[in-house]
């Protein structure tokens, strides 16, 4: 039995709390949040021990692990405090706002020999994990090009109120949404050599980006086109889609469905044939001990709990793998801040520098009315 605490009781924190408390082998020892009302209600009804200070909780509770689900800007200091107290850490994504901080935490965890994990749950989605297996088996030969997409209905009108609408706190479509497909691409193809053509566009938000487009370039001119938009009302909830083209076939995947086309010269794989193959989540998903919102959320915590119990420092989504995604996000921001580096098309006036803080132009404002 491992003793675990949850820090931060927002949407993800509450979800982690529920799943972790239901997991066999986990004792949910305490919860910590700055909001008195959440703690008050949960203390009355769940009997959980509550804290408003992480330091206090780490000092008073003998813990094996903490789950950190606070706003992104608080990840680094809280994770550091936990690691220094000798406690394993599961941290929500994205990991840190700066790569330097992230790398320091990787080093600290290594020095303390502690298990770490970041909540990139898509790596625990059956279909996306199957894509990884197929790529590793060379199912579509050498990948030459790919498309990483995510769309969803998050910001549908001008607004702002929580940390998610503040750039300085890790809000924005790039950090909060695009991080998911980017992390999958890091898993599938590794770390790109360069990024280019990044545009972070505001659609409705005042301060943050709502739309991300970019090109990632890997060795050998292998590319990923990134297309992410969280102002898309046409989809019911977030949809993440990956398409990969290779010398021996093509793979399309979303969280529910895998469509793979293999040429005659593709390697033989059990359960697949040349031509089209379609597999669904019902076939590719392993059952979990407790279900809430999707198997992947439980699967990632089961993986973490097992690693903590067995003291397996290496594992899926460790801090080092999440820093790779943080670094990619950081470089995309650098790229987006250099609109002058773009090649202008002769005879066409340059569009104003697109940045995540750009106000809509007069024409755009008129059009919306």
């Amino acid at each position: 039995m491992i003793r675990v605490a949850v820090v931060g009781l927002g949407k993800m924190g509450i979800s982690h709390l529920s799943i972790a408390r239901a997991l066999p082998g986990v004792e949910l020892a305490a919860i910590c949040d700055s909001s008195g009302i959440m703690l008050d209600v949960l203390a009355k009804y769940t009997g959980l021990k509550t804290y408003t200070s992480l330091e206090r909780m780490l000092a008073d509770e003998p813990l094996d692990a903490v789950i950190v689900a606070t706003p992104t800007r608080l990840h680094a200091p809280m994770v550091r405090a936990a690691l220094e107290a000798g406690v394993a850490v599961f941290c929500e994504k994205p990991f840190c706002l700066g790569t330097d901080e992230g790398e320091e935490l990787v080093a600290l965890a290594a020095e303390k020999d502690l298990v770490t994990q970041v909540g990139y749950h898509n790596r625990f989605v059956g279909v996306f994990a199957e894509v990884k297996r197929l790529l590793d088996a060379g199912a579509i030969g050498d990948v030459t090009h790919s498309l990483a997409e995510a769309y969803g209905p998050v910001v549908l009108k001008p607004q702002g109120g929580t940390w998610r609408s503040r750039k300085s706190e890790g809000g924005g479509c790039l950090y909060d949404y695009a991080a998911h497909p980017l992390n999958l691409m890091n898993w599938y193809l590794g770390e790109p050599e360069s990024v280019g053509g990044t545009v972070l566009n505001s659609v409705f938000s005042r301060e943050i980006d709502d739309e991300v487009s970019s090109t990632l370039v890997y060795p050998g001119n292998v590319t990923t086109q990134v297309s992410v938009n969280w102002c898309d009302e046409s989809v019911r909830k977030m949809t993440t889609r990956i398409t990969l083209w290779g010398t021996k076939g093509r793979i399309f995947a979303d969280r529910q469905e895998l469509q793979a086309y293999f040429r005659e010269d593709a390697p033989e794989l059990a359960g697949y044939r040349p031509g089209w193959n379609v597999k669904y989540t019902t076939e590719l998903t392993e059952p979990v001990s407790f279900y809430l919102r999707g198997e992947e959320y439980t699967a990632q915590l089961e993986h973490f709990a097992q690693r903590v119990a067995d003291h397996q420092v290496a594992g899926t989504n460790d801090f080092a793998s999440a820093v790779v995604t943080d670094r990619l996000i950081e470089q995309m921001r650098v790229d987006a801040d250099q609109p002058d580096a773009r090649v202008s098309v002769e005879g066409t006036p340059r569009t104003p520098a697109a940045t995540h803080t750009r106000k809509p132009g007069l024409l755009a404002r008129l059009r919306r009315h």
């Binding site: 009781l9 927002g10 949407k11 509450i14 979800s15 709390l17 529920s18 799943i19 972790a20 408390r21 239901a22 909001s35 008195g36 009302i37 959440m38 008050d40 209600v41 949960l42 009355k44 009804y45 769940t46 009997g47 959980l48 209905p153 998050v154 910001v155 607004q159 109120g161 929580t162 998610r164 989809v235 019911r236 909830k237 949809t239 979303d254 969280r255 529910q256 469905e257 669904y280 989540t281 019902t282 076939e283 059952p287 979990v288 001990s289 407790f290 279900y291 809430l292 919102r293 198997e295």
Partner: protein, 300 residues
């Protein structure tokens, strides 16, 4: 309760197998008339019970059947609450407490507690929970609602957290105010049976996935079958086709062979789908007392 209940996932693009299929369904049902046409086709097949979420669009559907009560006198709604996306999106933009305030009729209720000037008494917390239920129920006023369901995302969230008191508050309020049977939708049947029994809800009405391949039957298919054998809860089966992974006939034959299942919830997008499910159920789930079946089915 009728033995076949029409569900509503297909109307709102909820498809657990294919995002493409989900999109096609959203297109097919973007006008309320298209939903109403399917409900009327189900009614004509003797399926009068509609198990639906408290999606905003349900207001217009309810209006239609209220206005045409004489044509559809047995039309019955089994609402499931809340429509979670409504709250989840609000949490993203307004924070956890802000979201709850947004859906409360009296926004001032939580103010003092939010400001941290004082903590809330149990009675007040329970008041908030029941007000949220009332807000969701408003659109069904005037229609029979013999069962009020708690949606699985909430049931399971509460189950995991150990927030067992909320089940009891929900059950009591639904019984007292709506004279209805409280129902619980869950993906974790074994845990739900244990906890609901523990808070004194005897023989609880529970809707869960029950299908031949064990899809989303957390706790394992063996535990589900054991619980059905023991008959300690009133079982409603959903996802019997496992999102299309099991051929219809095989799926229905299997589920109808399980003991103590009171009803099956199914999704259908056309009169033809409804009729074919209906025929399969008639074949594999013969009525025990011919003609006296509460579902109103005709004896073949």
């Amino acid at each position: 309760m009728e033995r076949l209940l029409l569900g509503d996932n297909q109307f709102f693009g909820v498809n657990h197998m294919s995002e493409e299929k989900a999109r096609q369904q959203q297109m097919q049902f973007q006008d309320d008339e298209a939903i109403i046409a399917v409900l009327e086709a189900a009614y004509a097949e003797g399926i009068h019970s509609f198990m639906c979420t408290t999606h905003d669009r349900m207001g217009a559907i309810a209006d239609h059947f209220r206005a045409h009560r004489d044509e559809f006198p047995e039309f019955t709604v089994l609402p499931g609450m809340p429509y979670a996306h409504k709250y989840a999106n609000a949490v993203t933009t307004d924070g956890m407490v802000g979201a709850i305030q947004k859906f409360l009729p009296d926004g001032g209720l939580l103010d003092a507690a939010v400001r941290g000037t004082r903590s809330m008494a149990r009675k007040e917390i329970e008041g908030v929970l029941t007000l949220l239920v009332d807000a969701e129920m408003k659109m069904f006023a005037g229609l029979p609602t013999p069962v009020v369901w708690l949606q699985n995302v909430v049931t399971d969230l509460l189950l995991g957290m150990g927030f067992n008191g909320a089940f009891e508050v929900f059950a009591r309020h639904v019984r007292e105010k709506y004279d209805a049977e409280p129902g619980f939708i869950t993906m974790n049947l074994p845990l739900a049976v244990e906890r609901l029994n523990a808070v004194g809800i005897e023989n609880p009405l529970i809707c869960s996935n029950i299908n031949k391949i064990g899809f989303r039957m957390s706790g394992g298919i063996d535990a589900y079958r054991r619980l059905l054998d023991e008959n300690r809860f009133r079982a409603v089966a959903m996802s019997v086709y496992a999102s299309g992974a099991i051929p219809p006939e095989e799926a229905i034959e299997w589920v109808c062979a399980q003991p103590h299942i009171e009803a099956i919830v199914f999704g259908a997008s056309s009169a033809r789908n409804i009729a074919s499910t209906r025929q399969l159920v008639d074949r594999y789930w013969p009525t025990q007392a011919a003609g006296a079946d509460s579902s109103g089915r005709q004896t073949p």
